[in-house]
Amino acid sequence: MSQDYAEAGQLDSRLPPIFERYRYEARYLVQILREVQEALGHLPAAALSAVARALCLPRARVEGVAGFYSFFHLTPVGRYRVLFSDNITDRMLGSGELIDRLCNKLWVERGKVSEDRLVSVDTTSCTGMCDQGPALLVNGRPLTRMSVERIDRISELIRKQAPLSDWPREYFLIEDNIRRYDELLGRQWPNGEALKAAVARGREAMLAEMKLSNLRGRGGAGFTTHIKWESARRAPCAGETPARYVVCNADEGEPGTFKDRVLLSSYADLLFDGISIAGFTIGATLGLVYLRGEYAYLLPALNENLARRRRDGLLGTRVLGEDDFNFDIEIHLGAGAYVCGEETALLESLEGKRGVPRIRPPFPATEGYLGQPTVVNNVETLCKAALIAVNGGAWFAGLGTKQSTGTKLLSISGDVETPGIYEYPFGVSVAQVLNDCGAGNAQAVQVSGPSGTCLAMHEFSRRIAFEDVPTAGAFMVFGEHRDMFEVARNFAHFFAHESCGFCTPCRVGTSLVANCMDKIASGQGSQHDINEIFKIHRLLHAASHCGLGQSACNPLFDTLNKFRPAYERRLRSLAFKPAFDLDQALASARQMTGRDDPAAHFGLAAGLPGVEA
C-alpha cells in the first residue's frame, strides 16, 4: 500500500498538510513521524527523505529518530498490528497461551508479518492495563480482558478484515477501578477551581505553600517539588526565544504502573489546573504534556478538555484576567520508549530527537526544553500541587509522614482479588495494602516496578514512604505459586528491550543478562552464570549513564538474594556449563540431510560407548 503511495508520487500530496500543521518545525519530528506513519502505514525510505527535506534536517537524523522508537516501522507492517502487552502480570493472566492461540488461528509467526500483509502479532512492553489484563494493542488502540473466546473472535474479525469500529465495543472498555479513595480521588474537582485559588494566592504565596507542603515528586525519584519550581523561576532564560516551560511527564512506562492513566482519564481538569499553576508560579508561557504512545486513545478527550479551557479563559492570553499570565498547554505523544520517562530523555524526545538521557548537570530547571528553564513533574505531582493551591501547604503536610507528606496512588495488580487504584496516606504498611486488596497468599511484592524493590514475606511490615520503601506507584503481587525466577527473567528482557543503547554497560550488559537468564531457564545454567549476573549488576550500578541502567539488574539482585532456590533448582550443575550445545547445533544439518542415526549426533545423544549420562 505504502509502496504505491511512493510510486504514485502521493507523498507530495499527503505529507505537506502534516508539515503545515506543525509549522515545519524540527522539534515536532516525533509527532510528524507519527502522523506520516498513520497516513502511509509505515515509514518508507522516501517518506523519511521527504520529512528531512521539509524540516531541513539531515536525513540520517530523521532515520535515527525513526529507528529509535518501538512504534515506528521502517518496513511494511500488517494492516492489523496486534501487540500483546508483555508485562509479567499479563503473563500471569495467561497472555502467553493467547499469543500462541492467535498466531495459530491466523497462521502467522510471532514477530513476523503474514504473507498477505494482513496481520502481524508481537509483544510490546507493559501497556498500563495490568488491572484488566491480559491486554493488547491493535493498531495502537488498547483492548483489555483478553480471553480464549475474545481471541477466537478477534482472529475471525481480522480474517474478515472488519474495521476496528465494527469490533465489539466492550473489548475496548477501559475501567478506572478505583478501590480506595482519599484526598485526591475522593472528590470531583471543578475545572479551574485550583487555578483560581493559586492565582488568588499570588506567585510568592503559592511557592511558599509548596515549600510548606514539602511535596516530593511522585514519579519515583522523590525530588522536592518546590526546589525545582524555585530554581526554574530564578534561572535566567537565554537565547533568541527566552521562555520558561512546564513539562508534565505522562510517559507512564514503568511496568505495573497505571495510576496516571486514571488521572488523565477522570481527573484531567485537576491535572491541567496543576500544570497551569506550575506555569503561573514559575512564569512559564507553555506547558507540554508528554503522553506515552500507549495512551494515545486518551488524546481526543484531552484535546477537547484543553479547547474547553481556552473557551473558559483558563488557557490563552490573560488567563483569569491576569495581565501577566499567558499560558497554553500542548500534548505530545511518545512512540514506545520506556527510557523517555527519564526527564532529560523526555526533553530530547519533545525536541524531536532520539530519547537519550542528557548529561546532568545542567539540570532541566536551569537548562531544559530548548535550553530554557523547565520544570518537569509527574502527572500525580502536578495534581497534588493543585490540591495544595486549594487547601494550603500546611494541610498537605499534615497528611502522610514527616518526610513523605500527602497521599500516594498505588497501582495494584497481580495475585489480588481487587486490582486497581488505591490512594493511601504515605506511611501505610505493605501488609495493610495487601490486606485491603485481598492478596491472600502473597510470597512477594514488586514495589515501584522492575526498577524498584522486590519485597519478600518477612518485609511486609515495611512502609510505603520515601524513607522506607519509595515507589512511583506500581505494586505487583506474586502469590506463593508463582515462580520468582520467571518474574525476574521477564524484567531482564524488559530492560534489554528498553535500553537506549547510549552507554556501553547498559547497552551490552542488559542483553548479556537477559541471555544469561535464558540460559538458566533452558536448564544450561550453573553457579558461574549467577556470579556473572552479580558482576554485571555491580558494573551497571556503577557505570551506567542513567537510572535505567543503574537499576536494570535490581530485580535479579533482589530475587537472587531472597528467592535463590528459584534459580538454583534450575542449575544444571554448580560448575561452568557452556550455553553452546554442539549436538543441538547440528540439528539443521541433520534436517537437511534427513539423518538421525547415532553417527549424526555428538556427545550423549550419540549413544557412543564410553560416554556416560
Binding site: 532515520e63 520508549a337 548529561i359 543503547g501 542483553s511 548479556l512 555491580r538
Partner: protein
Amino acid sequence: MSTQHILLDGLPVSFTDGQTIMQAAMAADIFIPHLCHHPEFKPQGSCKLCTVKANGRYVSACTMPARDGMEVENNSPDLNDKRRTMLQMLFVEGNHFCPSCEKSGRCMLQALAYELEMLTPHFPQFYPDRAVDASHPEVLLDFNRCILCELCVRASRDVDGKNVFALSGRGIGKHLIVNSESGRLADTDFSLADKAAHVCPVGVILRKRRGFAVPIGSRRYDVQPIGMQVERLARRTTTEEV
C-alpha cells in the same frame, strides 16, 4: 590567587576553570582509559571506559568538571576491573578479529585491551550480522568493528558540517547509519578530505588501496603501550595520518 587542584590517585593535579577531570589528567600526563573522548570534539561520555570515582561517586572523567579539592580514584583494581569488563562487552558486541584487521596496532580498542590485560572476550559472542559498505570510491566502511563512539558522527556534524553519519536503532540493535536514502556511503557527500574520515579509533572507516603501509609489529601501539602515550593523545588531531 592559589591554583586549583584535584587529587588524582593521591597526586595533586592542577586544573583551570571549565576543565574536566579527563582534561586535567591528560594535561598532567596521567592516563585515564577512554575511547569516545577526543580532544578536538565535544565530550559525550558514552563508552564509560573513563569511569572514575570522584569523591566516592562513579562518574565519567570526560564529562565531569574538575572541582577544587576533588578526590579522584583512577588507577585502581576496582575501576580497571570494570573497564576490562566493558572492553569485553565491546569485543563480543561486534565482530572483532584483530589478526585480519588493517587497524591492528593502531586500534585504540585493541591497545586498551592490552593495556588493561584483557586476556579473553569472556562473554558469549553476539556475532551480529553487519554488512560492509564498499560503495564509496575512496573509503570502506566495515561496521563489524563499530563501537558506537560517535566520533565520526561528531566530526562530520560539528566540523565538516555534513552530517554524513548518525545512529539508529536502540539497545543492542543500535547501529551506525549514513546520510542517504539508499543507505550507501557512495550516495552521500562524504570525502576522504573530511575530518570524519580520519577519526575512527577502531577499524570501521578505512582508506581504500592503502593497506598495511606500516607493517604490523612496528605500529603506534605495537611499539609503546597506549598508557605511555598520553602526551600524544592529548594533542592529537584528526589530520595526523597513521
